[in-house]
Symmetry: C2
């Protein structure tokens, strides 16, 4: 019981706080994703979480930091999982590419609330660094899969850098379309995108 006085961190606190921090983050995520960042008011978050505005400011420095905390919370294990997945490209690059695309879709669907924050108001300045980091790592990751595929001859020789950008853009574009317009099922979109990226539309051999 001493701990509840000494450590303020959420997961160690034993029922001193009425409402847990993760509850607040979830509520805020829901609001940001449904109404947008600037349309979501601090009072809304407080009300929905069952707290007062004042309490919010005891836990988060301000609105921006609250938003950043959400994003950190939502992305914490994505990068490692993507990295692990890419390692398999030594064995079968095309299969790895397929897995990566389907993994991207899965994650995006699970985290679509968070993605709404990214796609809306896409230049909220404090989000830019995270977006940039995501782009760079994923582009390099796709490039590494392509290189391995070319080496093992399952992928035709091509400019890996340009192709990686195109593939990354295609994946993110499709996810964006899905999120904005709600068309198509994720699995069909994912499958049909891989089919396109893998074979192209042209008839006959390349």
């Amino acid at each position: 019981m001493i701990q509840s006085r000494m450590v303020p961190w959420d997961h160690l606190t034993i029922m001193k706080r009425k409402v847990s921090n993760s509850k607040v983050l979830n509520v805020a995520l829901k609001l940001f994703s449904s109404k947008g960042y600037s349309e979501t008011k601090m009072v809304d978050i407080a009300r929905d979480a069952g707290l007062s505005v004042g309490s919010l400011y005891l836990r988060f420095k301000n609105k921006e930091e609250l938003c950043l905390d959400i994003i950190k919370d939502q992305t914490k294990d994505y990068f490692q999982r993507a990295e692990d997945l890419a390692k398999k490209a030594d064995t079968d690059a095309l299969k790895t590419l397929e897995d990566y695309i389907s993994f991207s879709f899965d994650c995006s669907m699970k985290k679509q609330q968070m993605l709404h924050i990214f796609y809306r108001e896409y230049r909220l300045p404090f989000i830019q660094p995270m977006r940039s980091h995501f782009f760079k790592t994923q582009q390099k990751l796709i490039e590494s899969i392509l290189k391995k595929g070319i080496k093992s001859k399952s992928i035709r020789p091509l400019n890996t850098k340009d192709a990686a950008i195109s593939i990354f853009a295609s994946i993110r574009g499709t996810i964006m379309i899905k999120l904005i317009y709600g068309v198509g099922s994720p699995s069909v979109l994912s499958k049909s995108l891989f089919d396109l990226i893998c074979h192209g539309v042209r008839k006959g051999k390349p």
Copy 2:
């Protein structure tokens, strides 16, 4: 000279107004695209255009309508040009697809200021109808190119609806990446995307 009293429309008014409407639209476009819709204040637009706030409200009902007027102004002949282009698919579907992609890139680069409005704050409710219309028409257009290509055997048989969505998403995704991160030259991106869509990454015949 009588006209200047009788018709308030911009292009017919002979120097009664200090500042033309199209000047205002251009100034506002510049501000919206560089700072974002909600970060752009009506006073900013007024100042940069060399007008008072009051005058702005004599010309545009409110901020939203001003923004819509900009978009209408910027997109007025896009749709017809895209339609005309697609007609050529009877002759050579692959070439038409290539042209469509490069046309999309060209337009997007010329109108990138306007696109910033679309990609930022992407759910400004009053913009949704326009976005939706764009998606539907372009998807149908791509689908029609694919169908013609399949008929004339330059394109392999595939689910044209799914493929059209993937292709549309890839194009828009690539343009978005270009606008957000500024990576790559438009012509290289366009070329490399067509290469991907046309051939895919796989080695050997499909």
